[in-house]
Amino acid sequence: MSIKPATATAGAPSAADPSGFAAVHGEADRQLADVPPDPVMEAYKLNVYYGDFHAVHDVNLTFGKNEITALIGPSGCGKSTVLRCLNRMNDLVTGARVEGEVNYHGQNIYAKNVDPIAVRTHIGMVFQKPNPFPKSIYDNIAYGPRVTGMKVDDMDELVEQALRGAALWDEVKDKLKQSAYGLSGGQQQRLCIARTIATRPDVILMDEPCSALDPIATSRVEDLMLELRSDYTIIIVTHNMQQAARVSDRTAFFTARPDETTGNRTGLLVEFDQTRNIFSNPHDKRTEDYISGRFG
């Protein structure tokens, strides 16, 4: 199956197709089953609280193998919170409490006998702001395998593989020993992706990975996501609807509902469907309003 790489211009919205969805996906789009046939992860009745604050209400989602799932919605709708639940990064937030299940290949990662450290080696994460370590490019990649005690025969080879996998090798192969801080923002973000794939995860979570990048760097990261899809399951939070339309196979639309008494906004899942349906034929009025720019 050939994947047409997304480019910066291809996603330009037209009058007939405000989201620019058809322009990218068109005929090259993959035929997907209505429900992910091979679910890798599953959130079931997921509720998240920060202290007394109910941040996310009853989210049910299924993430299919080798698919890109986008979580979109207005600010404060809980999409990043949901993402952080998927590899237990929310454990690190003081006062955060998770109810419900997150199943990874059928194992609830919130079960008592689950080690969150082990969860994170299988479910990697790329953050909003590129966050390379203050080390050399080589050591940034080698860090994950080293700390997790991964058996590595040839670290040099693994570093090269990871950098090639993140389409960064040609740009950095002559300066592996130099500080990662010398790279541009887009390169740093691809280094963070390379660092994540070096630990051979199964799922990669991306929390607005392009929001700090310029359009050219963004388009390169998007191309990379489409390439990585054949080996990994990718879940991405994005504020950019064109980005969701360009790269994702399925989209989950979240919104925030204010509590009647306290006014606290609780995030909830409105609609989860194939991206093409969300953008061309949404079932819910709120999704339609958001997609067409009437709110959010």
């Binding site: 690190l92 450290i117 082990a118 990697g124 966050n131 370590f133 994950g144 700390v147």
Partner: protein, 303 residues
């Protein structure tokens, strides 16, 4: 051109081009003058003090000052060998005791403790208080610690180092916490998201990034400790020591102690020697501070 535009321009011109600056009004200038005077006064007192000490001590800027032991019979050539060596030994062991403890305590408070628990908040509050406790109290504490460990004589390297280590421990903890806090949260999250443990993240990411800040704080703490006499007097360090320190249990004196004892002597030569020793002590302190500044500038990281 409309009337409104013309009016607006006239108003703007006359209200901006006033030909004088309100920043140079009498009140502003008087305030500026007061600031200058305060600065001048503060610096001048210090300069006069240092110059006066240096001039008084000038006749004794010789080799014997640092190579000879103290002498009561020959005040004109009394030396501070024992004090200088004693102070250096004290600094070494003070750092050995205080630095690992201080860094460990700071790392616990910053990286591992739950700041919402009452006992952690209690510890934090008391750390701030400890930094303000008079130095003499740490001397008493050190005597108690020595007695608890079964030592009869407390005026030894171990006793002095314990007193000074206790004295600078709060300073080291506070500066280490600040240095650790300055490491961005993104670095920790990046490490944890790769499957590193909190311990690995602290040891391999946070701590190395915080080292320049920790080193600076530690050295500034030591430069405070090297000038302290009060806790060492309580611990019972001697002044008339005429041998080099040999180990943790050897009796010593320290430079500030020797200066303190000489200034109470009446002979002119002792006063001169004391002034010269003060200059030596100042050079040691300024050297430490210069080292701290060097480390800060050399290894400072901008995130």
């Amino acid at each position: 051109m409309s009337v409104a535009a013309t009016t607006a321009r006239e108003v703007t011109t006359s209200s901006v081009a006033t030909g004088k600056s309100r920043d140079r009004s009498v009140g502003s200038l008087a305030f500026l003058g007061a600031l200058w005077f305060s600065l001048f006064f503060g610096v001048m007192v210090l300069v006069v003090l240092i110059l006066d000490t240096a001039i008084t001590g000038a006749p004794r800027f010789d080799g014997a000052l640092i190579t000879d032991y103290s002498s009561r019979v020959r005040p004109e050539s009394t030396g501070f060998r024992a004090g200088i060596l004693g102070s250096l030994w004290l600094m070494l062991f003070t750092a050995l005791f205080a630095v690992p403890l201080g860094i460990a305590a700071a790392l616990y408070l910053e990286e591992f403790s739950d700041g919402n628990r009452w006992w952690n908040r209690f510890i934090e509050l008391n750390l701030q208080n400890l930094a303000a406790v008079p130095a003499i109290v740490y001397g008493l504490l050190a005597v108690a610690v020595m007695a608890f460990m079964g030592f009869q004589r407390t005026g030894i390297v171990l006793g002095g180092a314990i007193a000074l280590a206790l004295l600078i421990l709060p300073v080291i903890i506070i500066t280490t916490r600040e240095a650790v806090r300055a490491v961005p949260q993104e670095i920790r999250q990046g490490s944890l998201a790769l499957g590193a443990t909190v311990w690995q993240t602290t040891w391999r990411q946070t701590l190395p990034s915080a080292v320049p800040g920790i080193a600076t704080g530690t050295i500034l703490g030591l430069s405070r400790a090297i000038g302290e006499a009060a806790p060492l007097i309580i611990v019972g360090l001697a002044t008339g020591v005429r041998f080099d320190p040999e180990g943790l249990l050897s009796e010593i004196t320290a430079l500030p102690m020797q200066i303190f004892s000489l200034t109470s002597q009446s002979q002119e030569d002792f006063q001169t020697a004391a002034s010269a020793a003060i200059v030596v002590l100042l050079v040691m302190i300024l050297g430490l501070n210069a080292l701290a500044i060097f480390i800060r500038n050399k290894f400072q990281r901008s995130w």
